[in-house]
């Protein structure tokens, strides 16, 4: 996820290398070399888009949000603490700007793009699934923004708790705790559809 590293490099090594690279790039931008920012754009636009899409739920809006977040990051780069990792700082901008964008476009319908949805295995038949969708939407609304984000990134996007933690500046244990709480709430609300554990 974070660029080139030796084949036997651990994720921690990757993170340290990415951090060092980001600090160097930020230093170059601050020293008057704006083109160095392009490397940061290439390094983080996919993660930024993933989070942006989860915030606004619409591809074009998510692309606009990513662009806006990078512009804001560039504009306020002087306020960034280079002792801390760049990615969570950028993702926080995505989250904040995304919340503003969502409020501003609250009236616009933001249905998920149907062609992007792939069929997934489920024991439920179609009518049950439709009913479950309604209940799940309602249950999702009871989760906190962070729980909703984490359960989606984990169970839909297939990210690990470490990857989500890096993105949101949380420890993996904290991510797993939010995930546990979110799943418990959702499975509790949908208990009639699931056999067994909550």
């Amino acid at each position: 996820m974070t660029g080139s590293a030796p084949p036997d490099a651990t994720p921690a090594d990757d993170r340290a290398a990415a951090r060092e690279r980001d600090a160097t790039l930020v230093g170059r931008v601050r020293a008057g070399e704006p083109r160095a920012f392009d490397a940061l754009v290439h390094a983080y636009m996919r993660q930024a888009f993933q989070l942006a899409y989860r915030v606004v739920g619409h591809r074009e809006d998510a692309e606009d949000l990513v662009q806006e977040a990078f512009l804001a990051a560039y504009q306020y780069l002087d306020s960034y603490d280079s002792e801390r990792p760049f990615e969570p700082w950028l993702m926080r901008i995505v989250l904040n700007r995304g919340a503003n964008l969502r409020r501003a476009r609250a009236r616009r319908e933001t249905e998920p793009e149907v062609d992007a949805v792939s069929p997934a295995p489920s024991a439920l038949d179609e009518s049950e699934r439709a009913e479950a969708r309604v209940m799940l939407t309602r249950a999702m609304a009871t989760l906190s923004e962070r729980q909703r984000m984490i359960v989606t990134l984990f169970d839909v996007d297939g990210m690990t708790s470490t990857e989500i933690g890096e993105m949101l500046d949380l420890s993996p244990g904290t991510v797993r705790w939010y995930l546990h709480e979110a799943r418990r709430t959702l499975r509790g609300e949908l208990s009639s559809f699931f056999k067994g554990d909550v």
Partner: protein, 135 residues
């Protein structure tokens, strides 16, 4: 709620398995991230272009970012200042009759009662004017 950074990597071990059943339902509701639909090259070029333009922008371009807020504020401040100046000027030009005016009236032979009532009327008018009371 627990502080977000108090739980270390040791909490909630091990990494939970992905939940395909819940994941499938969630996917129905929120959709998958359409990574395959995005043209990453175009998006990156668009962002880098915007950043480059922002970097090359002259110093006065920052003023244009604020003009939509600053111009109405400046207009409002100007109107308020003009109103304050006008009010001050009106108040300072209002003539308050002095005691010497009364003395002049008496010396010129005006009956004392007339001079006193004229003086009182002129004071009342001056106070009304200063207070903005219509005549």
């Amino acid at each position: 709620m627990t502080d977000s950074r108090t739980l270390g990597a040791g909490a909630f071990r091990p990494e939970p398995a992905h939940d395909p059943e819940l994941g499938a339902l969630l996917r129905d509701v929120v959709g998958e991230t359409p990574h395959g639909v995005v043209n990453w090259t175009t998006l990156a070029a668009r962002i880098c272009d915007r950043v480059g333009r922002q970097a090359a922008a002259p110093w006065w371009s920052y003023a244009t970012q604020w003009e939509r807020r600053v111009i109405p504020l400046a207009l409002a401040a100007g109107i308020a200042a003009a109103a304050a100046l006008w009010t001050t000027a009106s108040a300072s030009t209002t003539q308050v009759p002095s005691a010497s005016a009364l003395a002049t009236a008496v010396v010129s032979g005006t009956p004392a009662e007339d001079a006193a009532s004229q003086f009182a009327r002129s004071i009342t008018n001056a106070v009304d004017l200063a207070a903005g009371v219509p005549e």
